[in-house]
C-alpha cells in the first residue's frame, strides 16, 4: 500500500540526519526527565527518533490513502458559507476525522497538555506530507501551530484551558488582515474595548482573508488603545467560538487551495481575552506567530513541489510519443532533473531552518522553568538569529520553487496538463498563493535584508564551507565556494554605494544569491552523506545555482545609483 513517508526516503533523511538533531531531542525531552510521567514518552534519543519515524509513517499512510485521494473532490466542491458558519467540503471532514483520530494534533505541544511534544522539525515532516496530499487541507491542519504563540505568550491558566483543546483536535485561525491592513498590519482597526462591568474585552469590526475563519479558537489582532494609529496600539486577543459573536459574512472565491475557507468575519461585541501584554500584539506576538506560519508555508511549498514532481515523473514514464516514453527526451528529463534538484535543495533549507527554530524555542521553553546558563544563553541567541535569517529565506525560496515546479509539471504533461482531469493544474493553482500569503516574497526579502548586510548568511556559508565532504563532491564544493565569493562581492558592491534605496532595489537579487549559495552547500553536504539519494540533485542544483548566481551578480554589477531612475515608478 502506498505510504507517502516510506515512498519518499528524502523526508526521513532530512528528519533525522543532522548532528543538530541530538541537541534538539535532548532539549525537547529536557534530558528525558519526563519519561515516567507519560506512557508515550521516549526513553532515549534512539527511541525519540523511532517515535518520530513511526508517527510520520502513520501520517504518510493517511496522506496517501485518505487526504490525497480526496483532494480532487475537495477542490471541486470547496467550502460553503451557511447562516454565518463555514461548512467544509464533505471530504474535508473525512480528512479531519482521520488526522484527529490519528492524534496528529498539538504535535509540538507538551505532553502535560496532551500534545506529542515533537520538535518543529518532525512537525515539518508531517506538514509537508499533508500539503503534498492536499495543500488546501494543510492550511486547516497546520493552523494548529498558532497554539505555539498562545503557549508562549499566554498565562498558565490560558494554556491549561486552550492547549488541551487543540491537542484534542479543535482548529485555529489567526485573524490579522483587514480590508485596509494587508502587508501593513499597523493599520489594523478592529476595535477592542474593555468592559469594567464584565471584566472582559469585546471585539467589534471586520477582518478579511482569514484562513479557516470559522475555527474553534482564534488569535485576533485588535486595537486596544483608543486614538492610536500605529502598531504600538495593537494587542493580541483570544476569541473562543463557544462564546459567540463572530460570524462569517462570506467565503472568498479563490484561484487555488479550494479546501481552505478564506473568510470575511464580522465581530459584533465578541467576548475575548487578552493574550500576553497590552500593546505587544503586533510588535512581538504577531511577529512570532508569522515566523511560525512562514515556516509552515515553506513546508507547504515543499509538499506542493514534491507532488508536482511526482505527477510529472509518473506521466513522463508512462506517456509515449515517437515510440518511446517521453522521459527519454533531453527536453523532458532536463525539466524533471531541475525540478528534483530544486525540491531537494529547498527541502534541505526547510529542515535546516526548522532545526534552528527547534533549538532556540526549546531553550526559551526551558527558560520558563529555570535560569539558563551563560552557554545556553549564547546558544539561544545564536539559534534565534539563525532562525530569523533562515525563515524568510526558506519561505520565499520554496514558495518560488513550488511555483516553478508546478509550472514545469504542467509542461511535462503537455496539453493533458492543461485539462482539469490531471492533478498538476490543481498543484499549479495551489502553489500560486505560497509566494503571497504570510508575507509576499518581496516582504521575505525585506526580512532577510538585515541578515544579508550584517553577514548572517555569509557566516552560515563560512561554516558550511569549512565542513569536509566525500572526495567525489570536492569539485562541487570548490564551485560552490566560488559562488559564495561572488555573493560576497555583490554584497560589498551594493553596500559601497551607501544608498538605502539602491540596496532595496538590489535586495531581491542578493536574497536569491543567498538562497542559491546556502542551498548548494546544504545539498553538497547531504549528497556527501547519502550520494544515492542526493548525488544527482547536488550536481544538477550546482549547475542551476551557479548560473543563477552569475546572472544575479552580472545584473547587480550592471546597476548603479544613477540607473535607479529607469526603474522608479516603473
Amino acid at each position: 500500500m502506498a505510504n507517502f513517508y516510506t515512498d519518499h526516503p528524502e523526508i526521513k533523511f532530512n528528519l533525522e540526519s543532522s548532528p543538530l538533531m541530538n541537541r534538539i531531542v535532548e532539549l525537547r525531552e529536557n534530558g528525558f526527565a519526563n519519561e515516567e510521567k507519560s506512557d508515550y514518552a521516549p526513553a532515549d534519543y534512539a527511541d525519540a527518533i523511532d517515535n518520530y519515524n513511526k508517527v510520520c509513517e502513520l501520517a504518510g499512510d493517511i496522506v496517501s490513502n485518505v487526504i490525497a485521494p480526496n483532494a480532487e473532490a475537495v477542490d471541486a466542491e470547496g467550502p460553503h458559507c451557511e447562516n454565518g458558519r463555514v461548512r467544509y467540503a464533505s471530504k474535508t471532514y473525512e480528512n479531519l476525522e482521520a488526522t484527529v483520530k490519528a492524534g496528529l494534533c498539538g504535535v509540538t505541544m507538551p505532553r502535560r497538555f496532551g500534545g506529542l511534544n515533537f520538535p518543529v522539525t518532525a512537525y515539518t515532516a508531517i506538514n509537508e506530507m499533508i500539503a503534498a496530499g492536499d495543500a488546501g487541507f494543510e492550511n486547516i491542519w497546520s493552523l494548529q501551530d498558532c497554539i505555539e504563540t498562545l503557549y508562549e505568550f499566554g498565562d498558565e491558566d490560558q494554556r491549561s484551558r486552550f492547549v488541551p483543546r487543540i491537542c484534542a483536535g479543535e482548529t485555529m485561525s489567526m485573524d490579522l488582515t483587514e480590508p485596509d491592513a494587508g502587508s501593513d498590519l499597523q493599520r489594523v482597526m478592529l476595535k477592542a474595548t474593555y468592559s469594567e462591568a464584565d471584566k472582559c474585552w469585546y471585539l467589534n469590526g471586520v477582518k478579511r482573508f482569514i484562513t479557516n475563519g470559522d475555527s474553534d479558537i482564534h488569535l485576533v489582532l485588535a486595537r486596544s488603545e483608543e486614538g492610536t494609529k500605529d502598531g504600538r496600539g495593537l494587542s493580541m486577543f483570544i476569541y473562543d467560538k463557544r462564546d459567540g459573536g463572530v460570524d462569517v459574512r462570506r467565503i472568498e472565491n479563490k484561484m487555488g487551495i479550494h479546501g481552505s475557507p478564506t473568510c470575511e468575519l464580522v465581530y459584533k461585541n465578541a467576548k475575548a481575552e487578552l493574550c500576553g501584554r497590552r500593546k505587544f500584539g503586533l510588535i512581538k506576538y504577531v511577529m512570532a506567530l508569522m515566523n511560525g506560519a512562514r515556516l509552515g508555508i515553506a513546508a507547504q511549498a515543499v509538499g506542493i513541489s514534491q507532488a508536482s514532481y511526482d505527477e510529472a515523473l509518473a506521466y513522463a514514464k508512462d506517456r509515449k510519443q515517437f515510440n518511446q516514453a517521453i522521459i527519454n527526451f533531453p527536453g523532458v528529463y532536463e525539466m524533471l532533473s531541475n525540478m528534483k534538484a530544486r525540491l531537494d535543495a529547498g527541502r534541505a533549507l526547510l529542515y535546516q531552518t526548522a532545526r534552528y527554530v527547534d533549538i532556540y524555542k526549546s531553550l526559551e521553553d526551558i527558560e520558563r522553568t529555570r535560569k539558563l546558563t551563560d552557554e545556553e544563553k549564547a546558544e539561544l541567541k545564536l539559534y534565534n538569529k539563525l532562525a530569523s535569517a533562515g525563515t524568510p529565506l526558506t519561505k520565499g525560496m520554496n514558495a518560488e520553487y513550488s511555483n516553478i515546479n508546478s509550472y514545469d509539471s504542467i509542461q511535462v504533461h503537455g496539453g493533458s496538463g492543461y485539462m482539469l482531469e490531471y492533478a498538476c493544474q490543481r498543484l499549479y493553482r495551489d502553489a500560486r498563493i505560497t509566494s503571497i500569503y504570510e508575507g509576499t516574497t518581496q516582504l521575505q526579502v525585506v526580512a532577510a535584508l538585515p541578515h544579508i548586510t550584517t553577514g548572517t548568511y555569509t557566516s552560515m556559508l563560512d561554516e558550511l564551507e569549512a565542513a569536509a565532504v566525500a572526495p567525489e563532491f570536492e569539485s562541487l564544493k570548490a564551485r560552490a565556494k566560488a559562488m559564495d565569493d561572488k555573493f560576497k562581492a555583490a554584497i560589498d558592491y551594493v553596500k559601497a554605494a551607501e544608498n538605502n534605496e539602491f540596496l532595496d532595489l538590489c535586495s531581491r537579487r542578493l536574497y536569491e544569491m543567498a538562497g542559491n549559495c546556502v542551498m548548494a552547500q546544504l545539498l553538497i553536504r547531504d549528497a556527501s552523506a547519502n550520494a544515492e539519494l542526493f548525488g544527482k540533485s547536488a550536481k544538477v542544483y550546482l549547475n542551476l545555482a551557479e548560473a543563477e548566481v552569475a546572472k544575479h551578480y552580472n545584473f547587480v554589477k550592471s546597476l548603479d545609483v544613477e540607473a535607479m531612475e529607469s526603474y522608479r515608478k516603473a
Binding site: Y40, N51, V55, L58, A102
Partner: protein, 293 residues
C-alpha cells in the same frame, strides 16, 4: 454499561498484490513471496468494535489471533488503533488447520477470554475466502450469528439486544439479535480508523514471548516489569485446553487434492431460504452430485 468485545483478527499474505511467484508448485500459497498484512475485513470488524467502545465508554476490546508468532503484529496493529489487549494463539500442533480446526481452536481461546458480550470478525480472510470460521465459532459456542454485517446500528444494553444492518442479495436487511453473539463484518462496512500517534508510541515495543530473541530476554523482562501492557499474552494448545484430536492437521478433515482455474459458466442462480429444509435439500443435492462428501 460497558461491553466486553472480542475481535478475531488474522494475519494473511497480501493476495491483493500478487506476483508470478504467489503460488507454490503444489498449488498452495507461497507465504514467503507475499507481505503479511492484517486481513482487510477483520479491520472492518475492529472498526465496529471501536465504535461500540466510543459509544459505551469503559468497554474493552480483546483481540484474538491464531497463527505464527509473527502474527502478534496484528495485535500490535489493533492496539495502535484502540484495542485494549490481545492474545496470540500459537503452537506447532496448531499448524495445517482447516476451517474446522481453526474455529475449534479460536472458540477454545474465546472461552478462555470469557465473559464476552459480542464477538466480531471479518466475513472471510483473503488467503482462503471460505467465510466459514465465524459461523463455525458461533455454532461451537452456541451463539446467535449475524453474517455479512455492514453496521451495528444500535445496541440496547438493558434489553441486551443489538440491531445490525447486513448485506443480502440485491439489498440490505436490518436484523435484531440478542447478546452475546457473533457478527461477521463485510468489507463494505466502514473502513478502520488510522493508527493513533500516542498509542503507536505507547505500544510499539509490545511483544509476545515467541517473538523475543532469547538473548534479549532480560531486556524484555525489565521492560515488562515496568510496563506490563507491553506483554502480549501468548497461548499454546494446552493453555486453551484444546483436544489434540481437534486441532491442527489431526483436526482438519479438509485435504487439498488439486487447484484448478475455474471459469464460471452457470448463468442461473438459485436462492434458498435459511430454513433447515432448504439447507438439507442442498446438502443432499451436493452429495448426490459428488461435489462434497
Amino acid at each position: 454499561m460497558s461491553l466486553k468485545i472480542v475481535v478475531l483478527a488474522k494475519q494473511v499474505p497480501d493476495t491483493r498484490n500478487v506476483g508470478p511467484d504467489a503460488m507454490t508448485e503444489q498449488g498452495t500459497i507461497n507465504r514467503a513471496a507475499l507481505p503479511a498484512v492484517f486481513n482487510p475485513e477483520d479491520l472492518n470488524a475492529l472498526e465496529q468494535a471501536l465504535r461500540l467502545k466510543d459509544q459505551f465508554p469503559g468497554s474493552t476490546i480483546s483481540v484474538v489471533t491464531m497463527g505464527l508468532p509473527k502474527s502478534a503484529e496484528v495485535v500490535r496493529e489493533s492496539l495502535y488503533r484502540g484495542a485494549d489487549e490481545g492474545f496470540v494463539v500459537t503452537d506447532r500442533t496448531l499448524g495445517g488447520a482447516d476451517t474446522l480446526a481453526t474455529s475449534y481452536t479460536l472458540a477454545q481461546a474465546i472461552k478462555k477470554v470469557g465473559n464476552y458480550d459480542i464477538i466480531l470478525c471479518g466475513r472471510q480472510a483473503i488467503d482462503g475466502d471460505t467465510a466459514q470460521v465465524g459461523p463455525q465459532i458461533a455454532q461451537k459456542l452456541g451463539l446467535t450469528q449475524v453474517t455479512y454485517a455492514e453496521e451495528i446500528l444500535s445496541l440496547d444494553e438493558k434489553a441486551r439486544k443489538v440491531v445490525i444492518r447486513r448485506l443480502i442479495d440485491g439489498g440490505v436487511e436490518t436484523v435484531e439479535a440478542p447478546l452475546p453473539l457473533v457478527v461477521t463484518v463485510n468489507g463494505s462496512a466502514a473502513p478502520c480508523r488510522p493508527r493513533n500517534a500516542k498509542r503507536v508510541m505507547k505500544y510499539k515495543n509490545a511483544t509476545a514471548v515467541a517473538e523475543r530473541a532469547p538473548e534479549a530476554a532480560e531486556k524484555y523482562a525489565a521492560l515488562i516489569a515496568e510496563k506490563p501492557y507491553l506483554n502480549i499474552a501468548q497461548w499454546g494448545a494446552a493453555d486453551i485446553e484444546a483436544d489434540p484430536a481437534q486441532i491442527g492437521k489431526a483436526g482438519s478433515p479438509t485435504n487439498v487434492k488439486a487447484v484448478k482455474n475455474i471459469v464460471f459458466k452457470a448463468k442461473e442462480s438459485r436462492t434458498l431460504t435459511a430454513s433447515d429444509e432448504d439447507v438439507e435439500g442442498l446438502i443432499k443435492e451436493l452429495l448426490e452430485g459428488k461435489i462434497i462428501g
